[in-house]
């Protein structure tokens, strides 16, 4: 009998992720001190740019916990953005009904995918790949041009997009020209952070959340223990697509445009963020806080490369790839160590 109270290896992975983010950010602050990397606003901008991704990553984490995957999210975001841009920019529809429409589309999309995965036992990769092609195709069907939402088209939506929520004054700093800058965030950040908190709560404190872990841990056992595996999976995919639609709205607020090529590969960013945050592709292990830091790391890499200015932006991809390898290797090393011990 082994009863040493050792730190759980999953917690350790999360700690490593957080530490890595801090180290990376600190290095950035030192190297790019002149360019203002150490200003609070730089950090907030990472949050602002990645608010959409953060919502998506939360949904992705839920699906990955069950041992599944959802690769339709990037295309779904493109479709959402296109619907919003086309609806407001071209047709001049009011924004509130459009937003509700987009959210409902997310629910329906998830319902169909979840039903196929949960009740008909089809491989999630295949189903969501079909979903991916479908959504991307629909985006092109709506409009093949690049559309944008202007102030004239929808003043309300425009004002949201440009709304700044200032942080308290004492956080202000002087920029290089000696002007006082008060750091701000956008409404999308609040939305995304609320999503993180809510999903954290759901995962930790609700039956559904724990069922996600159980299903990912051992599906057959979960069934025999009397959990409803099918409906759990169904709900996971609904949640993913719904959060993806919320993310789509954030994305739209950030870019104020819609095009067929939007958010290509975003699903991979979301998966990468989750994995870096300690979610196992095999399911059963992971947390949204991990995914939050995964997204932040992802964003920091991008910002570092941008701030440098001379580097090709593809270096960001290479850095992400390296990190992914690092974390996956770390995870398997931990798994091996665990096996040795037991």
């Amino acid at each position: 009998m082994k009863r040493k109270s050792r730190i759980n290896s999953n917690t350790l992975l999360l700690l490593i992720t957080i530490a890595l983010f801090i180290v990376m950010y600190a290095i950035g602050c030192v190297i790019y001190h002149e360019k203002g990397f150490d200003h609070l606003q730089t950090f907030l901008n990472i949050l602002i740019t990645n608010a959409g991704l953060l919502c998506v990553a939360c949904g992705m984490t839920c699906v990955m916990l069950t041992g599944g995957i959802d690769i339709s999210v990037g295309s779904l975001i493109a479709m959402d953005c296109m619907i919003l841009a086309y609806g407001m920019g071209v047709k001049g529809y009011p924004c509130i009904p459009l937003l509700i429409f987009v959210l409902v589309i997310g629910l329906v999309f998830g319902l169909v995918q979840g039903f196929l995965v949960g009740y008909l036992d089809i491989q999630p990769f295949i189903i969501t790949m079909a979903g991916m092609f479908f959504a991307r195709g629909m985006t092109a069907v709506i409009c093949t041009k690049q559309l944008s939402i202007t102030q004239d088209a929808n003043a309300l939506f425009y004002s949201w997009a440009n709304y700044k929520i200032f942080l308290p004054k004492f956080l202000g700093y002087l920029n290089s020209k000696g002007k006082l800058q008060i750091p701000f965030i956008r409404p999308t950040v609040l939305v995304a952070l609320s999503v993180v908190l809510i999903i954290f709560f759901v995962l930790k404190f609700t039956k559904f959340g724990r069922a996600l872990y159980a299903v990912g841990g051992n599906e057959a056992s979960a069934k025999l223990m009397g959990l409803n595996v099918r409906s759990t999976k169904l709900k996971a995919y609904i949640l993913s697509s719904f959060l993806c639609s919320i993310g789509g709205i954030c994305y739209s607020l950030n870019t104020m445009s819609g095009s067929v090529q939007q958010a290509v590969g975003l699903e991979m960013d979301a998966i990468a963020s989750s994995v870096i945050g300690g979610t196992l592709l095999t399911g059963g292990v992971g947390s949204v806080f991990g995914s939050l830091f995964g997204v932040l790391i992802n964003g920091t890499i991008g910002t570092l490369v941008n701030t440098n200015g001379k580097l090709l932006s593809s270096w960001a991809n290479i850095a992400t790839a390296a990190l992914l390898c690092f974390f996956i290797i770390l995870q398997s090393v931990f798994a091996l160590v665990k096996e040795r011990k037991s």
Partner: protein, 504 residues
């Protein structure tokens, strides 16, 4: 009260593709009785239970439950649970990634007033529940940190904590030691007094006589009779199960290394692994069968893992046939002629999609290397001979092992290691879940191999079984080898050696 009927299954039939698993089977469970369900491996016990609890659908028959006027059909385990039928299935079915407390309470978590999970209360209730069963674990740790026995006890604790009319235990004792079994029995008797009906599956006859009131025997998927324990002496029960008289178990006597061979096959000096087992000395002669005994968690498994090189020894040396062996990984040990059957069948993995034949030849193939494929004819021959020798009940040799009954899966693993014909074979609880007829066959087989020069280290929780096969026993206590017994060996001598100083 005594004769009030709680549950009846009548005329139940179930066919899997190619196998008639149940044919017109009936069982009657009364309130406040412990009802043994007996039968050979593959007789259909687990299938009957799965049909009852909605894991499998059935074709014919009806199920009646006290309190329902109409016959009932459970479509899912949840439905069965809601009707008061709670089950511990044969393999431990819990989620290794969740904490012990969650495994106890998932699906019925205590809630706070606001409707979210009350972790504090859940952990507290879990601690209380396990304490009543005398299990000492940290309930907040993930389950995978604990041994199979603890996991088994957690599964049982989960079941008995649910309010139920009928409790079904499918081989709950297969990975428990005597201490834990007696705890379980106390619990079962307590539930019996409260009027719960218990169906209890086991291959240990003495356990049947210790707690059960009535016995239903299945044979080859058919109903072979219902008896009260009193009218069913041991030999009659065995005969009913097998459908024939067997030569009594006691007819086998240890012959062991009387083959006067003095050649030392394996010798370990000061071998140890930090944290699991203190340095120990060990030797075994060619053709000898040595037992390793001790309570669960006493370091039996750890000792043999160290010998095999599954745990890398930090101190000491290991010599095989006089040559120092430096095994870095199990594959080195296999190549130098060792074989190891671990106690955790699930982790060691039968590969459940592969066929019986493929699983049997797997280790042999691994030793030969990928490029020297065994000829198919040879594979057929090997598979067929072991299927026959160990009575593996399978439709064909190409059936996927996932479709075999629990005990028959265990036999396939056993066959896997026996067919490599190693010089030194380590068997950790090889007969877990194996029926009594096959156990005898297996013991004979071990002795036969030994007489051909194989050295065998044998761990079993059943002392009798070891007495019958071993010439010598190592005694383990608290992660340390505390002594050896040879010469005269009886149940009492071994028991007191195991208990050591702390006799009760």
């Amino acid at each position: 009260m005594e004769d009030q009927i709680l549950l009846t299954m009548r005329g139940v039939s179930k066919t899997f593709p190619g196998v008639k698993a149940l044919d017109n089977v009936s069982i009657t469970l009364r309130k406040g009785e412990i009802h043994a369900l007996m039968g050979e491996n593959g007789a259909g016990k687990s299938t009957l239970i799965k049909v009852l609890t909605g894991v499998h659908a059935f074709e014919e028959g009806e199920i009646r439950l006290d309190g329902f006027d109409e016959p009932i059909i459970n479509h899912t385990p949840i439905e069965a649970q809601k009707r008061g039928i709670v089950t511990v299935y044969q393999e431990v079915n819990l989620c290794p990634n969740l904490s012990v407390a969650e495994n106890l309470f998932i699906g019925r978590e205590p809630k706070t007033k606001l409707g979210y999970i009350d972790w504090r209360k859940m952990n507290k209730l879990s601690r209380e529940l396990l304490k009543r069963l005398d299990i000492d674990v940290d309930v907040t740790q993930t389950l995978e940190n604990y041994s199979l026995a603890i996991q088994q006890m957690v599964a049982i604790a989960r079941a008995v904590d649910m309010d139920c009319k009928a409790l079904i235990l499918d081989e709950p004792t297969s990975s428990l030691d005597e201490n834990e079994v007696s705890k379980l029995f106390v619990l079962m008797r307590h539930l019996r007094e409260k009027g719960v009906g218990i169906i209890f599956v086991t291959h240990f006859l003495e356990q049947v006589y210790a707690v059960c009131d009535r016995i239903t025997v299945l044979r080859n998927g058919e109903f072979a009779g219902e008896y009260t324990v009193a009218e069913m002496p041991r030999f009659k029960l065995v005969a009913t199960m097998l459908g024939k008289d067997v030569d009594d178990l006691d007819s086998i006597k240890p012959e062991g290394c009387e083959s006067n061979c003095d050649e030392i096959a394996v010798e370990a000096v000061g071998l140890g692994h930090k944290g699991t087992i203190k340095p120990f000395d060990f030797h075994i002669r060619k053709g000898e069968v040595v037992g390793v005994t001790g309570l669960l968690g006493s370091g039996r498994t750890e000792m043999v893992r160290c010998l095999y090189g599954a745990d890398h020894a930090q101190s000491g040396t290991l010599k095989m046939k006089g040559k120092v062996l430096k095994a870095k990984a199990p594959i080195d040990s296999i190549k130098s002629g060792m074989g190891y059957l671990p106690d955790d069948r699930k982790a060691d993995g039968l590969i459940s999609e592969l066929s019986v034949r493929e699983n049997i030849v797997l280790a042999l193939q691994a030793r030969q290397g990928v490029f020297k494929t065994l000829p198919l004819a040879k594979q057929y021959e090997l598979a067929d001979s072991f299927i026959e020798m160990l009575h593996i009940k399978t439709a064909t040799r190409e059936t996927p092992v996932s479709q075999l009954s629990g005990g028959n899966q265990q036999k396939v693993i056993l066959a896997r290691w026996l067919c490599t014909h190693p010089d030194f074979l380590i068997l950790d609880e090889p007969t877990r879940g194996i029926d009594i007829g096959t156990k005898t066959e297996f013991q004979k087989l071990i002795l036969k191999f030994a007489s051909e020069g194989m050295s065998v280290v044998f761990i079993s929780s059943e002392i009798e079984e070891m007495l019958r096969t071993c010439t010598r026993m190592c005694v383990m206590r608290d992660g340390e080898k505390v002594g050896e017994i040879d010469g005269e060996m009886t149940q009492e001598i071994v028991m007191s050696a195991i208990a050591g100083g702390e006799e009760k």
